[in-house]
């Protein structure tokens, strides 16, 4: 079929293609294009993996899917569609997360090339490590609107995906979200948290009730008119929001009264908060602004018009009921996952965010705008995906010919630049960052935390979320003492102990490894009294501390004596490396929790 192309390609390339095996990770916009290009270039063995199912909003670019495929496995349908045109290719489809023990280093090792066509950072980080561990070249792709990029990642030769810090996405202090929102986004984040509290996976970090531990309200809450027993975390202790909502049968009016009436009254009682701020206005269900508006006066798309508070309440009621029904239809203990493309989920967040915005005197937004903000939607179009996928497969050909040096990163610009360029290539491969905490020969990173407060359980999540590990094992350097084990139950008895209690102190180092990722990193602990949870301090963007000739001081001797930190002065050039949370962790086994921000379709860190 590709007979004539055989004349175009030289023998070496033809043969390399004939003997190749390629893994495509992701069957979205770029993945579909890559699959098609591979098939028509004559690649005989292809595996494609994607956890996702097809949504209507995919159809504007993911051309292997049609309307009748909505709801089906992307990987499977992509395979079937490609085979219907070209039955002579061996394609294996996995409707699965790439982050799984089923796809370990030995799995990756069987491929000549891995091609990433992913839409989220967690999975990208993971595949990056798998390819480093398996020493397989990785072609990393991404688009955002009119822009896009293709880069080669090869162990020891190029930068890896994690060599440079990625811009952290904005996160907001809990008390701003819970007590004193001042921008629409604060209300949107609150509304998404509320969704999870009521219908999704409950997360203590996503409390939506008034935060009595707000430093600004200092000492205030005690004088509150409402009697509430405080827990040490500052949350008003009570039944979980979910339990309470279930008991009230998700009765919209009751929910409304609590969330937008009682809770606001409670906030008002924290008077210190409102000395310099416009106080919020509690709402009453029966008397909402916009109630008497005639429904006919509106024009334009409902999606792009800002609804009145009354309309929001109507939508709130309807979406609560729909979501409740959805939740009830599931096995006990199951929960909903917020999805910007799911009607009731999006309606609920729009309504709640706007009602709260009204209460706090913040401009209301249309559903269309809120969807962008809540879903952190990156626009995606067919053309950019086609361009990037075309380049990616041409890169794959270069790789098979052994021309790795030619595979410099290429950026597709949304507009031609001043030199008239639409594509801006790097001149040479970008060398790996010797201080990268992933691909350096001896990876190292510091974890700033308060050792007196951070528990082992929290350490475990810091390693998972901060370092994107799946199942970390941690041992004290020089002592071999295992503090965290990925074996279920092995170190659980220590879960609630603080790091100090098990004898770790400032300057100690942990050797942490993830068996699945074949990744080991040395984590130095850095005591910081002010740190409320934890923070990674990397040396990617700060000067390297003086070289450490002697072995770092080992503080894991069980004593509480303060020991000087081994490596570097304390600095507070911190937060640009806060590791990110992500909401659309479609490829993750379990989405990470802390500092959640989201990414969307084919995100890319742009030029």
């Amino acid at each position: 079929m590709v007979a004539r192309v055989a004349g175009v390609f030289d023998e070496k390339l033809t043969e390399a293609i004939a003997n190749s095996k390629v893994l495509v990770v992701g069957a979205g916009g770029i993945g579909c294009e890559i699959l098609k290009n591979l098939v028509l270039t004559g690649f005989p063995n292809i595996e494609i993996i994607d956890l996702d199912t097809i949504d209507v909003s995919n159809l504007n670019r993911q051309f292997l899917f049609h309307k009748e495929h909505v709801g089906k496995s992307k990987a499977q349908v992509a395979k079937d569609s490609a085979l219907s045109f070209n039955p002579n290719v061996n394609i294996i489809a996995h409707h699965d997360s790439v982050i799984s023990n089923d796809y370990g280093v030995s799995y990756f090792k069987q491929f000549n090339i891995v091609m990433n066509a992913l839409d989220n950072r967690v999975a990208r980080n993971h595949v990056n490590r798998m390819c480093l561990a398996a020493d397989v070249p990785l072609v990393e792709t991404g688009t955002a609107g009119y822009a896009g990029q293709v880069e080669l990642i090869k162990k020891g030769l190029t930068q890896c995906y994690e060599c440079l810090p990625k811009a952290p996405q904005k996160s907001f202090p809990g008390c701003t979200i819970r007590n004193t929102p001042s921008e629409p986004i604060h209300c949107i984040v609150w509304a998404k948290h509320l969704f999870n509290q009521l219908f999704g996976e409950e997360d203590p970090d996503q409390d939506v009730s008034p935060d009595t531990a707000d430093p600004e309200a200092a000492g205030d809450a005690g004088s509150s008119a409402l009697s509430a027993k405080e827990s040490e975390t500052g949350n008003v202790e009570r039944k979980s929001t979910r339990t309470w909502a279930a008991e009230t049968n998700y009765e919209p009016e009751k929910l409304f009264t609590k969330l937008f009436g009682d809770d606001i009254h409670y906030l008002l009682s924290m008077e210190n908060l409102w000395k310099k701020r416009r106080p919020p206005t509690p709402l009453v269900w029966d008397n909402l602004p916009g109630k008497d508006d005639s429904p006919a006066k509106h024009s334009g798309l409902p999606d792009q018009r800002v609804w009145s508070v009354h309309e929001c309440a109507q939508v709130f009621a309807a979406s609560c009921k729909a979501l409740e029904a959805d939740l009830k239809g599931r096995p006990s203990g199951d929960h909903l996952v917020w999805d910007k493309d799911e009607k009731s989920s999006m309606d609920f967040v729009t309504a709640c965010a706007n009602i709260r915005a009204h209460i706090f005197n913040i401009p209301l937004k249309s559903r269309f705008e809120i969807k962008s903000m809540a879903g952190n939607i990156i626009p995606a179009i067919a053309t950019a995906n086609a361009i990037v996928a075309g380049l990616a497969v041409l890169r794959a050909q270069n790789i098979l010919k052994g021309e790795l040096e030619a595979c410099t990163s290429v950026y597709l610009r949304p507009k031609v630049n001043h030199r008239g360029q639409l594509f801006v290539p790097e001149r040479t491969l970008t060398a790996p960052n010797p201080k990268c905490y992933v691909c350096a020969p001896k990876p190292e990173v510091a974890l700033a935390c308060n050792l007196k407060h951070l528990t082992l359980k929290e350490l475990n999540s810091a390693l998972k979320e901060g370092l994107n590990m799946q199942a970390p094992d941690a041992a004290v350097e020089g002592k071999g003492l295992v503090v965290l084990s990925s074996e279920p139950g092995e170190t659980d008895h220590n879960n609630d102990k603080t790091l100090e209690e098990i004898g770790l102190n400032d300057g100690c180092a942990l050797l942490v490894d993830d068996f699945l990722q074949n990744y080991e990193v040395r984590v130095r602990l850095q005591q910081e009294d002010e740190e409320k949870s934890w923070r990674l301090v990397t040396e990617l963007d700060t000067p390297m501390p003086a070289p450490k000739e002697d072995k770092p001081a080992n503080g894991a001797n069980g004593s509480n004596d303060p020991k000087p930190g081994p490596s570097r002065p304390k600095d507070d050039s911190d937060s640009d490396m806060e590791i990110i949370e992500e909401d659309e962790g479609v490829e993750t086994v379990k989405p990470p929790k802390r500092r959640r921000v989201e990414m969307s379709d084919e995100i890319v860190e742009l030029c």
Binding site: M1, A3, R4, V5, V8, F9, E33, K36, L40, T41, V56, S57, L59, N60, R61, F63, H66, K67, F85, S182, E183, K275, K276, R277, R278, P295, L301, P302, D303, Q304, H310, Q314, A317, D341, K343, H358, N361, I362, S372, P379, A380, I381, A382, T383, N385, A386, A389, G390, L391, V393, L394, N398, A406, T408, V410, K415, V416, G420, L422, P425
Partner: protein
Amino acid sequence: MASLSPKSPEQNEKSKQYDRQLRLWGDHGQTALENGHICLINATALGTEVLKSIVLPGIGAITIVDENNVSDEDIGSNFFLETTSKGLNRGSETLRLLLELNDAVQGHSVQEPPDQILQENPDFFKSFSVVIGTSLNEKLIKDLSQYLWDLNKPFILCRSVGFLGSFRIQFREHSIIETHPENEKVDLRLDVPFTGLSDYFDSIVISTLELKDHGHIPWIVILYKAVQKWQTTNLNRWPMSRKEKNEIKDIIQQFIRSDENGVPINEENFEEAIRAVNTALLPTFLPVKVQDLIYSSAAINLTKESNPFWIMCSALRAFVEAEGKGNLPLRGVLPDMTASTEHYVKLQNIYRNQASVDAEIVYRKVQQIVSQLQCDSISETEVKLFCRHAHDLHLIIGSNIALEYQTGSPVASYIARHLEEPDVMMVHYILLRAADMFKSEHCRAPGEWEPESDIAKLKNCVSKILSDVSCSPFPKDDHIHEMCRYGGAEIHSVSAFVGGCVAHEAIKLITKQYNPVNNTFIYDGASTNSATFTF
């Protein structure tokens, strides 16, 4: 519970399907796309890839002109052909499978040879928004591009041969209303406040505000008040220098209240005002680029055939000279700021209202012109969009493809210059053109049948082109050998890549958003180099 049934805003199926792109080019961009009609000549792999990326986002209609029947090679390189397509008309087979991607798209297939259409029924091309041609021979390229130039229809000529690909965009002029500049300048008119705005400013006295309101007035008000105060001791001048701007910052600092202990209260809106001093105090002015446009002869000497852009430019000039007092219509967009809803909404309405008053005036002028010229009407929405983006209007003057074939033209010396550099990408351009010429002379691609004997023939073509641009022959023949080895075959990934690029640019042309490539792009998939040239 209220008696009204919940008006749940059901998104229609279409806006769900197009959600991710609507966020890029908006409903009006989508409408433009849906009113667009693309004509493709030759459904090669490249041509089909172009259409695929235009059909998916929902172009109104496509028409494929293709006289060829499906061959094995087509099936091997074109994803949208099946083995059962063999021997059938290539255009209609491709069309059938492409339309399965999006049932909202209309499709037509025409099996006549394009040169015949050009001779017998040239009006055929009048109804399209953009014509895209691929795998054309040199003669047809010359004839068609000249015809479409005269017709004032955008034409994209694209090629994919072996590892080489290219596209050339031809239009006489292309006006862009929405250029999507990276940092849009704010248009606040603090130096020349309109009545509504100055009334609003006058209604606020910062010193008498209650503390909790103090933190909620928009920074625009604060800045204006600070300048007013500064002007009392500066002969009502406008602060321009860095020193003067620092004085404004000091005044704003003085506005900030202190608590009972004399510690200044941290108020976000005042911080914002201080941060805005450097940018927001720029005096209002008419950008030179826009001035050039509205005083260009196309905007002054209108005819019945003038396109809406020039009619609106003309109306804009009239506005600037009269009601605008030298300035453009107000943009009417407020930046985000810390402010209470009442203040924000009020201020927003003041700006919006003035913007729509200004746009309304421009619209009336447009209507006058339209009725004088008796040309097609222009909608109010179009005029509003035009006014909102009046600060960033952009015009690209195109060039005729035929110029590339003229000896002694400036384009010829431009080509020669790049060949001398030596620019290997320009060498590829010469080879692609030589292949077109070969096709005209021998009715097949170089190397398609006899790679060896074609080398000399292709070399002849190269020499002719080089002598046309007054260049000496290439020292080596390796590029010529390479081209013959390709035998006119398409590598799918190259076609997919170039096809994506062409669709990308076609969408920019149809939606009149973002600046397109001006005007030639060359790609070499072997070295993965690319270059843009402006012929």
